[in-house]
Amino acid sequence: MENSDFRQRSMFAETWKRLKKNKGAMIGLVIVVILFLLALFAGVIFDYDTDVIGQNYNELLQEPSWKHPFGTDEMGRDLLARIIYGSRASLFISFAAVCLAAVVGCFFGAISGYFGGAVDSIIMRVTDMLLAIPETLFAITLVAALGTSTFTLIIALAISNIPIFCRLLRSSVMTQRGSEHIEAARAIGAKTSTIIMDHILPNCIAPVLVQFTLSIAVTILTISGLSFLGLGVAPPKPEWGALLSSSRSYMREHTYLTIFPGLAIMTTILSLNLLGDGLRDALDPRLR
């Protein structure tokens, strides 16, 4: 403890300081950043028309080599280029969907948990209805009704993730609401909005963060599943799940075709989980 330090350390600086000490979280963060940069600058590294969707029948199903580090697929396309381009779809759709779900879910969850009563009952019954529909089935229905597009996919995935966040935040808020420090905040005259934003939500963030990383992982898998069914990202546009499913028929002879997209999914999910766990710990001043 510095004796003369009266500066109010900001929450962000504090968190960052603690996060830096966590090796796992930093590895996760580095990988996530690299993935995002690759997705962002994929166009600089590879040319979409020639490398990603351009078919080359002279180089069908080649083993990994210097020219094609991850090998080529059944149409002679470079797998590395396709995986990197595929990360755009996987990452963008899953992040957009889960962010949307988290914001909407947390909003309704906080209201439901804080006010209780009839508001709570209504929100919870709607949530129960949504929870009752399997995620994939719901997405299939919506995509079938509205047509295959990235936007539809995001909406479908977001809606099926909302109840998870809603329930999660509701229960945390309910625990927080009854605690004495919330009563203390009311006693000093804080407004309801201040109490929710300033006192309740910061104390509820840990489970939300963990759920966020989990949901991203599950959503990436769901997108893959939908692409596999032909409802996700349409070929020839690459997407990790689609890459995985199209390589299925060549799995015995050309294992690398399944291994690399699988590794990409696994690495992303693993690093997100590491980062999420690290963030959760770093955001809690009690764990130092």
Partner: protein, 321 residues
């Protein structure tokens, strides 16, 4: 006599439960003079904390009026009540639970100043926070620490500093020392006493520890099942407890002398359930003096000596023995 700061009249707080209506606070009337302390004692679940919260309108009263410094706060709108909270504050029982674990000591004490916009510049605010910390005996080096890093006594000092930051007139102390070590209890009590003298504070001091209230309070209210059953000046109550329950309570205070042992009154029987109360004296089921009359009507709080009120038929009929 000095003027009345807080006047509580016929306040009731009922909770609806699946089994019926729970009478947590049932028709409580008392007043506190400016600069004085009212000690509220009673066993767990007797409604003393609820009374404290209703008085501050942290819980809505079911009925009754609460007049603080001439203004009836029981009917104030949310917005007006918020600004009125500058005048009435609370010190909580559990100093750790009542402090936001994600905020530093400085942020916690600063918050009321920011909410009520008492000091707008952040630099002056910090100066005031450091001042407050000094007042309550917290070293400045704790400014940017978190509550969980400090011991119980220091945490309670944070709570006190937070309550003082808005210069309140009236503070409800809800068992402020019961979660602390005995050695620290004395420190905190002395601090509260000093602050009262310096700032002319008025306290409602809720506790279950009779020895604490004795030297601390001007008047003491004894509560049983949501009712005040005896209300008297502190010394009078200790010298001449009138209600059988008060007598039993006082007999339970340990006397640190071997030759001067007191006969303890052991209460037998179960507490009556506060849900769907029968129309009878609430203490009758455990009272050694209970008569037929006690089972058929509720005694009211009546003055038996100047300033000394008791709710017991026995005190009404016979003189104190």
């Amino acid at each position: 006599m000095s003027d009345v700061l807080l006047d509580v009249k016929n306040v009731k707080k009922y909770f609806k439960t699946p089994k019926g209506i729970l009478h947590a606070v049932d028709d409580v009337t008392f007043s506190i003079n400016r600069g004085e302390t009212l000690g509220v004692v009673g066993e767990s679940g007797c409604g003393k904390s609820t009374t404290g919260r209703v008085v501050l309108r942290l819980l809505e009263p079911t009925e009754g009026s609460i007049i603080l410094d001439g203004e009836n706060i029981s009917k104030l709108s949310e917005a007006k009540l918020r600004s009125k909270r500058k005048e009435m504050q609370m010190i909580f029982q559990d100093p750790l639970a009542s402090l936001d674990p994600r905020k530093t000591v400085g942020q916690i004490i600063e918050e009321p100043l920011r909410i009520h916009n008492i000091i707008s510049s952040s630099k002056d605010r910090q100066k005031r926070v450091l001042e407050l910390m000094e007042t309550v005996g917290l070293a400045q080096r704790y400014y940017s620490t978190y509550p969980h890093e400090l011991d119980g006594g220091r945490r309670q000092r944070i709570g006190i500093a937070r309550a003082l930051s808005v210069n309140p007139k009236f503070i409800v102390c809800d068992e402020p020392v019961s979660a602390l070590d005995v050695s620290i209890q004395a420190q905190i009590l002395n601090l509260l006493e000093d602050l009262q003298k310096q700032m002319g504070l008025t306290y409602m001091f809720i506790t279950h520890d009779l020895s604490v209230v004795h030297h601390f309070s001007d008047n003491i209210a004894v509560m049983y099942l949501g009712k005040i059953i005896e209300l008297a000046p502190s010394d009078e109550l200790f010298a001449a407890p009138t209600h059988p329950y008060t007598q039993a309570l006082l007999s339970a205070i340990p006397v640190p002398k071997l030759e001067n042992r007191r006969e303890r009154i052991i209460l037998k029987g179960e507490i009556t359930s506060p849900i769907n109360l029968p129309k009878a004296c609430r203490f009758a089921s455990r009272c050694i003096y209970a008569t037929e009359q006690c089972l058929h009507g509720e005694p009211e709080l009546k003055e038996v000596a100047p300033g000394h009120k008791v709710a017991c038929y026995r005190a009404e009929s016979t003189d104190k023995t």
